[in-house]
Point group: D2
Chain length 351, copies 4
């Protein structure tokens, strides 16, 4: 209810503040008897952690995870799988200056309005650090989806107005911004470095493709596959929009253009993004999200302090000038969580 | 779980097929002691019903609702409020031709894949008629929100590539497409009529503004205000995307441009769409959705029948050549449901 | 949240007041493709309806149900199955005298405290009439359980201090009190008639046996099979206690007596009631509930009116002097709902 | 869904196996701004921990808890409060003998049937050690209830057939069995020690009184206050029954005896146990649970091994010969969780 649990059957509950003692996740509803180890989850954590490249935050978190329950002799038992990460490189004192001010674009103001109290240290629970638990939980989902033959792949499509012109899958994890076009990726890195130098930031577009999903996944009416994915993606901080298949372009197409025809080979196009009536068609599922520029910038901006007095603020700290590269594994994690949950719901429908 | 319930505390459960006996909704979690009558709900139903203008489906449904429980002597009692609508103008035989074929852009294929059985009559549960229950439930939420001073307003921003150039609030309900610019609206009507004449269809963009929401609404992490609204909107058939505030344009802005600064008068801009960290700022909440062109067209298209044989299909029937005008009240209804639920969740947080 | 939905995956949502327009239920999560018809559900409704014998309330409700959605050509479709019952024999004016008084043993006082408003006509939503929707929903669950080979059987074990001495299964539906011992049943009827004559009432004990459940049903920790059954049974008005297997007698047994030993034929006893660690053993599941005497009696009693003034009250109306016979089908319905839901949850665990 | 979460708005999710690395709990939905510290929670943990007296298991767990999130500068923040306990005195090798056998009265058989895999070390997740997380979460609820003026008190009413004859509240925490009659308590201790000496065990009855609850708590129909408490109590391992107020005795009372009359001073009796129609009356809430004798005994018993072969078993280990004294704080914790959740649900109803 307070919103720290995601999923209906396969579900995660996360906890932890940016500069608190630890962050982590309880994964419930795990299929029993599946082989999994810490290294498998760690691999995904490493893709999300700070300090992994020149364009990410220099905070030094190794994000070493520990599985403290739910796995016995290398296999899941069906009981809750708990993953813990102790925070290491906390610098709460770095936030002393801003503890009484609202940083523009941040949740400082809204948290205080909501709760009447806030942990100001590195945004507390509103920090991107909160996604560590998501990625750990998503890794468990990913392992289960592997057994179903499902593959989830996200990557940067655009940063700072620079778009990918090609789709080279093998290039994605080889460039620091996770672009699907390495040439565009190089330009994006250059752009980010320029902005970082002047203390500014930029946004971008991340795309996700999901392959191998059986037709029939998704619950019609309120829990449509696209509705669940939309919620999952908009639940990630910094995401401002989502579109499936033809997306916003669909709004200016004719029905005769947009409808995906079929012949004996299958669908002749994929304007729907692999989803009809909220249910998977068996085609590739494809969606894109809009990522806003990072709010933490050292450019001077007008704001208020908690007493309501005007002031100027510069956010000094260890931030990502563009969050796209590190959002990619979070997008994948959330997509995995949605899919595994819907697979289990479909099993229940017929079970 | 099967996805016919929406909301956590204030919640609706809907039932009904397009050409079955009835459609309706149980509204649970209603604040007791609130005055409400059938006329209040009926007014919203009338905005959604078919046959209301030259650009909507000519199906003749008066959509007369009846409250069968939960109201006593004109006031809500806190017990489930049940609203029933008997279907009137059913023509199931009109669908005999398509009972064994998959209409392109429809959920015929995916429903059969999912369930192994489908009620083909007018798309059964996948019909837009399913939204009648949403609008009835949304009207109850709207009544409760009136007491909170919250106002929800949706309208057509664009149809068939024709965009509104002005925002004239009082014009919206006075033109058949519910455009916020009556001159653009007249062109949209013309465009729809031209497409209808050749059996084709078009899509558009619907925008929604929410005023009077207190700061602090929305649950951080997974149940952010924008995440809940995104799920609600993508759960409406034909919606292919959503964006909040600056939306997809945010992806090419700098942090120094996108961040909303504050002074003693409040926020100096609203790129965030009234939501920071998933929590309302107290500003106007604003989002837009992409609506695909109606799938039911009489232009010939390639498809398969249930035996997997290729065939050509033309969907003859009573359809909306553009669904935007009738989606407007559904968007408002879903937004009302999200808001009332989050208000009650916030009451619980502090209660 | 407001508590009108029961179940997690296979679930029912009910509505309706005793003397309102209708009562009914939406059943969600129904397995698709299962044959079911109104007659099957009606049969269970007839076991619950008033006026069925000399020892039940003379209110004349035929309780004719109608399935208005979710079934197509005689089979479930997987979409919500809605069952409606219009109330017929309403006499709201019979309750004018008590609209401003709290009947002892009734929920009049607590409903007003909770909601600040109440529909006093026949107890409104607090009436036993509310169970009509449960029985209709339970009948759908029963049909699905038949396919699993599960059988649920409840019956009266004791009324007014008169206990059954034998267990004759075929006798149960042949005597008006649904006793498993027809000789004891005859004495119970006599006792009830004597009490009815002087305007008093009595309680009893209802027992339930469930056969054919596979081992492994029930979710450990919070959603144990016995925990779910306990909630289901205590959610029935008039139930004051439940015990499984040896039940309260277990509290004075030794471990060496209570533990059920096993040999190659299986378990040698069933003190556990067929449940270990909250999970079914595959044995017969057995539990008993305590049913309080009906609160509505015409014996004079002290009470208060809504102004807090003392008064004497006699509840005149059409009541059951002992509710056990009519609780039997409700107990079965609730048990069926719990079981079908847990079967689907188990399918999801491994799905 | 997999059943490791309890509550709807104020809710806990627990994890951990008896001889795994850790056990713990995430508490979500905590009211912000409430003072709480580790010592407050620790006090409740100490009442539950093993080794606290001559009649409890000699396992040496100090059960030192750590709050790792959700508290900032001594106050709750409204974000998830995570409590962790590392296990200390694990002796998994002590269970080697029984890893391939089903101990009578234990969940060994049913876990294996359910999951196809089990962590046999000390019963894994089926161990009473699982309740550590409940007690930690319950302590947070207890703190919030203190602010509401609600007091929850459980104690032993009967052990091994020896019943308390008096109710001396201040004696409860002063005797090792937490009996409300210290003289009976002394006899209970003697009885337990005799049984322990011969390797046998016994059960008992625990009673709970809740004071200070406002009238109006509990959701009618399925989520009645008594239904929620029943589920909570039956979810505790070893509990075989529950009764409210007059309980099973109500089944042989007349309506004229059982109904609680009212005069201007309030209710004249409390046969209802403080609950009418599933809603609190404002009186003391009272219920009793039946606790079975501990399953782990060293008396020889017949059983099967996992191959289905007959064998004799004696369970050697560190066990409680009677679990009543240590169930008392768990009963209180679960009652606190139910109450705080229902208070928040009531706030939402009117919020």
């Amino acid at each position: 209810m307070a919103g720290n649990t995601f999923g209906e059957i396969f579900k995660i509950t996360t906890f932890g503040e940016s500069h608190g003692a630890a962050v982590g996740v309880i994964v419930d509803g795990v299929t029993p008897g599946i082989e999994i180890d810490e290294a498998y989850i760690q691999k995904q954590m490493d893709r999300r952690k700070p300090g992994q490249s020149s364009v990410t935050s220099p905070r030094k978190e190794y994000d070493i995870i520990h599985i403290l329950s739910g796995v016995f002799e290398g296999k899941t038992t069906g009981t809750p799988l708990f993953v813990n990460l102790y925070n290491q490189d906390m610098k709460p004192e770095a936030y002393n200056d801003i503890q009484n001010s609202y940083r523009p674009g941040h949740a400082d103001f809204t948290y205080l309005q909501k709760y009447g109290i806030r942990d100001h240290r590195g945004s507390g629970r509103a920090s991107g650090r909160e996604t560590a638990g998501r990625v750990a939980g998503g890794a468990v989902a990913r392992k289960l989806l592997e057994h179903r033959g499902v593959e989830v792949l996200a990557y940067t499509r655009e940063i700072g107005g620079i778009s990918c012109q090609t789709f080279e899958e093998e290039a994605i994890e080889r460039n620091a911004v996770r672009a699907c076009d390495p040439i565009a990726g190089a330009k994006m890195i250059e752009k980010i470095e320029q902005l970082a130098a002047i203390g500014d930031s930029c946004g971008g577009i991340v795309e996700c493709r999901i392959r191998g999903v059986m037709p029939g996944l998704g619950e019609p009416v309120f829990d449509k596959l696209d509705a669940e994915l939309a919620k999952a993606m908009l639940s990630i901080g910094a995401v401002k929009g989502i579109e499936f298949g033809a997306g916003f372009a669909a709004s200016s197409m004719l029905g005769s253009e947009h409808n995906d025809e079929m012949d004996s080979e299958g669908f002749l196009s994929n304007h729907s993004g692999g989803i009809l009536g909220g249910i998977s068609t068996g085609q590739e599922i494809i969606f894109r999200i809009s990522v806003k520029p990072t709010s933490s910038i050292s450019v001077a901006q007008k704001t208020l302090n908690v007493k309501g007095e005007e002031q100027e603020i510069r956010t000094i700290g260890r931030h990502d000038p563009c969050i796209c590269p590190r959002i990619v594994p979070v997008v994948e994690a959330m997509a995995c969580l949605v899919l595994e949950d819907l697979y289990k719901r479909q099993a229940a429908n017929h079970g």
